[in-house]
């Protein structure tokens, strides 16, 4: 019925903006969300989850100009599975082993914290970006 992903984290690399054959901009970047907690033994623990984020349309084009590696952003989006399995995308690493990724299509992007003051990008129209827009990539 519904699925949403909320992320607050840091860009792992500079964003890349590309255009579909139809001229639709799409900006992609990887985002790390780092979580810390204290385990039952009182030891501090930490885990980083990596997300591959795509931002479509004008919002993507705009945010691509403002984001850079290390910037903090808040993302509201939805998970984009592999269309053939309904599960995470699977790829082959350079060493030949299999990897998998969390692919998220952003609905809203907001800059948080950091240099240059905060700006936000909310595109109500971009809420209507259909999930299948993702599949136009590549």
């Amino acid at each position: 019925m519904y699925q949403r992903i909320f992320l607050a984290g840091n860009l792992g690399r500079d964003p890349e903006t590309r255009y579909t054959p139809g001229g639709m901009p799409v900006t992609s970047f990887s985002l790390a969300t780092n979580e810390r907690w204290t385990d039952q033994d009182g030891q501090p623990q930490e885990r980083t989850t990596w997300w591959q984020v795509s931002v479509w349309g004008k919002q993507g084009e705009t945010i691509g100009q403002y984001l850079s590696k290390g910037r903090q952003v808040f993302i509201e989006g939805r998970m984009n599975p592999d269309s053939s399995t309904g599960g995470p995308h699977i790829f082959t690493r350079r060493d030949g082993t299999a990897g998998a990724s969390y692919e998220v299509t952003a609905i809203r992007v907001r800059l948080i914290g950091g240099r240059g003051g905060a700006a936000s990008f909310a595109g109500p129209r971009d809420e209507d970006v259909p999930p299948e827009a993702y599949f136009g990539e590549d």
Partner: protein
Amino acid sequence: MYHNVILAGYLGQDPEMRYTADGTPVTNFSVATTEKWTGQDGQQQERTIWWRVSAWRRLAETCNQFLSKGRPVLIEGRMNSDPETGGPKVFTRSDGTPGARYEVTAFTVKFLGGRGEAPGFEAPGDEDVPPEADMEEDAIPF
């Protein structure tokens, strides 16, 4: 800094409760979220994602007691990523090809609609469930 997953969907199977070696209850079940939209060609499109949800401690017990296949639920949780890669855990399917799935550790579960009008439940204490509390590997739910 933060991540959160919200799902509203239907159980694909009856929940299964087990106990860890130290006696902590953990309940696993799969949830399907189906999204529908109209494509640019005017055709109705549909996509289903399967999520493997685990609930711990008291929440595990209430899920096991009240949930069953086909029930609609609202889940609030966290993606249970592979600590080594930060991505989904990769496993080997029976045919030898690699597979992966969306594993979510729930900290809130609420019933949506349907028979019995059972109340929603949540376990505030379970927000402290460490992300590393992993589920066992078993058959993929689809």
